[in-house]
C-alpha cells in the first residue's frame, strides 16, 4: 500500500511475538466499580464478594474485577466474554473513556491513569484509535470529513487532513465514497468509515469494541478478513473486544476470556481450546471444531521404535486441519520438527482422533476434556 506513514512504525507480527520485548500496554489489577461510593470496595473484604452479593450488600456493580494483562507490540489481543462480562468497560478503562476505580494502565511505561486532561487528550489524539460497535459516525458530515475528524480536532490543516483521509479511505476500500453521508452507506461500509477514522490519526494501539456484531454474518466475515489484512499491512497493535468465540479464535494472537468482570483464562487460541481453564471456558469452546484451532504440538506423540522416520516434516504450530492432507497422503508418520530437532510424529490415527472428537473413555486424549 502506498501509505508510508502507516507502515513506518510497523513491526512484522512474527517478530513482535517475542515475549521478551517490553509490552506496549501493561495493565495491572484494574478495577471498575459502578455505584454509590464505589471507591470503598476495592482493597477491602467487600472485593472478595461475588458480583450478586456485592450488588445486594452495597448497591455497587463490579464491572471489571482485578484484571491484569499485558499486550505486546504488534499483537492482536482479543478480549472475549458474553454481554455483561465487563469487556466493553474494560476497554473503555484503558483509554479512560470510563474512569477506572483502581489499578494501573501503562502505555510504553507511561502511567495512563496519572495523566492530566491535556496529556490524556494528547494520547487519544496521537496514540490511541478506537472503532465502535455502533460506529459513532457524525451524520451531518461527509465520509471524508468524518475520517478527517481526528486530524481536524488536533489542528491539522484542511489540505493535509483531506489528503490523509483519502489515503486511509483507499486503504479500507472506500475510495469514491468521500462525498457520501453516513446514512447513505450500508452498515459494513459505515464501519469501514469508522475504521478509517481510527486509522487516520495513525495510532499505535487500535481498540475495537465489538465492531462487527451489528453487521450481518457475511459482511462480518468480510470485515474480519479486512482486519486481518490491515493488520498484516500496517502491523498495529490491536485490542479487539468480541462476544463471538469464532471471531476471537480467527483474529486473536492471544485471547483473554472474561466472566462477571474477572479474567478466567488468557492464552493463545489453541491453549484456550486445547486446555480450557475451567468448566465455563470448556463449555464455551465445546462447539469449536478442534482441528481448526489445535496445532500439531497438541497431538504429536513420540516416535515409536522402528517407525519409519523418512516422512515429510511439519512445524509444531501447524494447524491440524492444514496438516491433515499431508499426513493422510504421506502413508507413514509425519515428523514434527522445530529448529532441526525432532519433537515427535503425527500419523493418520492422531488426526482422525481429533476430527472424530474426544473419546469419553479416555479423558486424557488431546482436547478430550470436553462434555
Amino acid at each position: 500500500m502506498a501509505v508510508p506513514s502507516l507502515t513506518e512504525k510497523s513491526t512484522p507480527p512474527a517478530a513482535a511475538a517475542g515475549a521478551d520485548d517490553p509490552p506496549i500496554l501493561d495493565v495491572r489489577g484494574l478495577w471498575k466499580v459502578f455505584g454509590p461510593r464505589a471507591d470503598r470496595v476495592v482493597g477491602t473484604p467487600l472485593a472478595q464478594l461475588s458480583r450478586a452479593e456485592l450488588k445486594h450488600r452495597t448497591g455497587c456493580v463490579a464491572a471489571v474485577r482485578d484484571v491484569s494483562f499485558s499486550v505486546r507490540r504488534g499483537e492482536v489481543f482479543v478480549v472475549m466474554g458474553l454481554s455483561g462480562s465487563g469487556k466493553s468497560t474494560l476497554v473503555r478503562c484503558l483509554t479512560r473513556l470510563v474512569e477506572p476505580t483502581a489499578g494501573e494502565v501503562r502505555l510504553d511505561g507511561e502511567d495512563v491513569l496519572a495523566c492530566g486532561e491535556r496529556r490524556l487528550r494528547e494520547l487519544r489524539r496521537h496514540r490511541f484509535g478506537m472503532v465502535f460497535q455502533h460506529f459513532g459516525l457524525l451524520p451531518h458530515r461527509r465520509v471524508l470529513d468524518n475520517v478527517a475528524y481526528g486530524l481536524e480536532i488536533r489542528g491539522t490543516k484542511k489540505d493535509g487532513r483531506y489528503e490523509r483521509a483519502r489515503e486511509v479511505l483507499e486503504l479500507v476500500g472506500l475510495a469514491g465514497f468521500e462525498g457520501s453521508y453516513p446514512d447513505q452507506l450500508s452498515g459494513g461500509m459505515q464501519q469501514r468509515v469508522g475504521l478509517a477514522r481510527a486509522l487516520a490519526v495513525d495510532p499505535e494501539v487500535l481498540f475495537f469494541d465489538e465492531p462487527f456484531s451489528a453487521l450481518d454474518p457475511l459482511i462480518r466475515r468480510e470485515m474480519q478478513n479486512e482486519v486481518i489484512r490491515l493488520h498484516r499491512e500496517v502491523g498495529k497493535t490491536m485490542i479487539f473486544i468480541t462476544h463471538d468465540l469464532s471471531e476471537a479464535l480467527k483474529l486473536g494472537d492471544r485471547i483473554l476470556i472474561m466472566r462477571d468482570g474477572a479474567l478466567v483464562q488468557m492464552g493463545t487460541p489453541d491453549q484456550v481450546v486445547g486446555a480450557p481453564a475451567d468448566d465455563y471456558v470448556r463449555d464455551f469452546v465445546s462447539d469449536v471444531p478442534r482441528s481448526d484451532v489445535l496445532t500439531l504440538s497438541w497431538v504429536m506423540r513420540d516416535a515409536r521404535p522402528g517407525e519409519p522416520l523418512d516422512g515429510p516434516e511439519l512445524a509444531p504450530d501447524t494447524v491440524i486441519r492444514d496438516a491433515a492432507r499431508t499426513v493422510l497422503s504421506a502413508g507413514r508418520p509425519v515428523k514434527v520438527v522445530s529448529g532441526g530437532a525432532l519433537l515427535g510424529v503425527v500419523t493418520t490415527a492422531e488426526i482422525l482422533e481429533v476430527i472424530a472428537g474426544p473419546d469419553p473413555g479416555n479423558p486424557d486424549s488431546p482436547g478430550g476434556e470436553s462434555r
Binding site: 473503555r92 487519544r124 455502533h134 460506529f135 459513532g136 459516525l137 457524525l138 451531518h140 477514522r197
Partner: protein, 673 residues
Amino acid sequence: MTAVPTTPATATAGAAAPGSAGGRRRLRGRYLAVLILAAWVLLSVVLKGRDTLALGGAELTPLHTRLNEGMDAIDAGRNSNPLFLYFINYIRLFLDESVTFVQALISQPSFGRPVPVVGWLGVTGVATAVALLYGNRKVAALTAAGFAAFGLLGLWEESMDTLALTLTAVVLSLAVGIPLGIWAGLSDRVNRVVTPVLDVMQTMPTFVYLAPLTLFFLIGPASATVATMVYATPPVIRITAHGIREIPVNTLEASTSLGSTPAQALRKVRLPLAKRTIIVGANQTIMAALSMATIAALIDAPGLGKTVLKALQTLDVGTAFNAGLAIVIMAIVLDRVTSAAGRRVEAERRAGRARGPRARRIEVGLVLAAAAVLVYLSHVYVWAAKFPGEARLGSYVKQGAGAASEWVQDTLVTYTDALKNLVTYGLLNPFQSLLAGSPWWLVALVVVALALLLAGRRAAIIAGVSLVLLVLLGLWHDSMVTLATTLVATLIVMVLGVVAGVWMGRSGRVDQVLRPVLDAGQTMPAFVYLVPILGLFGATRFTAIIAAVAFAAPVSIKLVAEAVRGVSPTAVEAATAGGSSTWQLISKVQLPMARAGITLAASQGLIYVLSMVVIGGLVGAGALGYDVVAGFSQYPLRGKGLAAGLAIVVLGIMLDRIMRAAAQRAAARPASQ
C-alpha cells in the same frame, strides 16, 4: 372535590383483584372517598350559607388594601429607587426602544415620514425571501399569500405591530434561551435548577403576571415584551437542553476517544446534531410568543390582539373574527416556515445540500437582490408603502362573519340554550353551591381528606397549605366559584378526551382526520375562538367553560389517544383472540392499561382549563377571572386583582400536585386485570 377529574382512574381501580392486599386497601379507600363526599353533601345542606367568606365585587380586605399601598409605593419609587433607576428602568427603556424601532421599520410612520421605513411590498418581499432561503418554494408562496392577506383584510398596520412585538420578543427569547438551554443540556446541576423554574413559568396562567409586570415596566411594549418572553422562553430552553442531551452516547464517545476537548465536542458534535431540535424549540417559542403577543393587548400591547379585544368588549363578532383570521394566518405562516426550515436542516444534515456551494451562493444573492429591490420600492413609492385598495376582503369577512354569527344565534338558539341550561343547572350550579355554599372549613376538610386518600400525605399537606392561603388572600368564595367552573370544564374535557381519544387511538383514519383539527386548536391564540363562542352563548359562565374546553380538549384528547395507542399490541391481540367484544376490549383492556396516560391527560387538561380562567373572566365567568380583569382596569381594585392572580396560582399548584401524586399512584399500581 379532586375526586372528579380522576374518575377514570378510580373507576378502573375499583375493578382491581379484590384478593390482593393492595386491592382491598384500594377498595376501602374508594368507599371512604364516597363516604366523605356523601357526608359533605349532607352537611352542606345543613350548614348552607354559613362561613362562606363571600366578598362583594368592590369589597376589599385589609390585605388587598395593603397590596394597593404596596403597589402605590412601587409606583412612587419608580424615579427614586436605585433598583429602578439603575436597573429596571434601563431594561424598560431598552425593550421599549427595541419594539419601537422594529415598529418604525415596518408598521408605524417614522422618521418624519407619513409611512414606515419599509412598506408592505418590502416586508412581504423580505419575508418571502427568508421563507424561500430557509424553507422551500411552497412555504415561500404561503408567506407571500399570507402577508398579502393581512393587507387585503385591512389589518396591515395591526398585523405588523403584532409581528414587531412577536419578533422582538422571539429574538430576545432565543438570545436568552438557546445559551441557557445549551448550558442546561451540558450540566446536570444547571438542569436541576432550571427545570422547576420553567415548570412554574409554564404552568402559571399568563394573566397572573401581566398585571404585576406593569408595575415594574409600565403599561406598553416593554411589559408586553417581558410577558411574552416569560411565556415563550421556556420551550426553547427545554427543547434545546433536550437536544443537547439526547446526542447518542457512542457518537460522543467516538469524538472523545479521538481526543476532542469539551468545547470541540460541543461545537462539532453536539450543536450540529442538535440543530434540528433547537429549531423545533424556536418554532415552539415563536408560536408561544405570537399567542402571548395577542393576549398582551390586555396591557395595551399594540397589534391585532387589541383589535380583537376591542371587538370583544363591544360584542362585534365580525371585526373580532376578521382580526382573529389575521392572527391565525400569521400563526400558520410562522409555523410552516419554521417547520420547513427544520426539515430542510435535517435533510441537508443527512445528505448534504441539494446544490453546490456556488449555486447556493448565486441563489442567495439573487433572492436577496430581489428582496432589496422590493424594499427600495416600498421605501420610495407610496403604492408600495401603503397597502393599496379599500381592504374589501376585510369588510366582506366582517359582514360575513357577523351575519353568520347572527344566523347561527337565531337558528341554533334552542339547542345552544338547551345545552347551556343543561350544563348550568345540571352540573355547574349544584357544584358551585356545594363548593361555594358550604362553610369554608368543611370544604377545606373534605379536600384535604380526599387528597390524603387519593394522592398521599405530601399532596394533602400541600392542599391544606394552599387552602389556608386562599382564605388569607381574602378570596375564598371567589376561588370556590372558580374551582367549580374549572372542575366542570375539566370534567367535560375528560369526557371529550376519553371518547375522542379512544376513538383516535383505535383508528388510524380518525387520527388522520382529527389530528390537524387539534393541532390548529392548539396553535390558535385563545382570543380567536372566543368570538364565535361568545356569539353563540352570550357572556355567561357557560361561555367561559366552553372556551376553556376548546383550549384544553385538544391536549387531553391527544394524550389519551397516545396512551391508548401505547397499550401493548400483544395484550390487545390476546384479548381479541380470547373473544372480547369491542366494548369489552376498550373497557377491560385498553382503558385500564392506559390509566396512567389518562390521568396525565386529566391533569394537563386541568392546568389548561385553569390558565383560561382570566379569559373566562372577560366573557362573563366572574369570580377570580373577573377580579383579575377588574384589577387591570380599576385603580382601587388592583390590589385585589393581584391577590386574585395569586389565588389562581395557588389553585393551580394545589390541583396540579394532587393530580400528579394521584397519577403517580395510578402508574405505580400494577394493571391488575
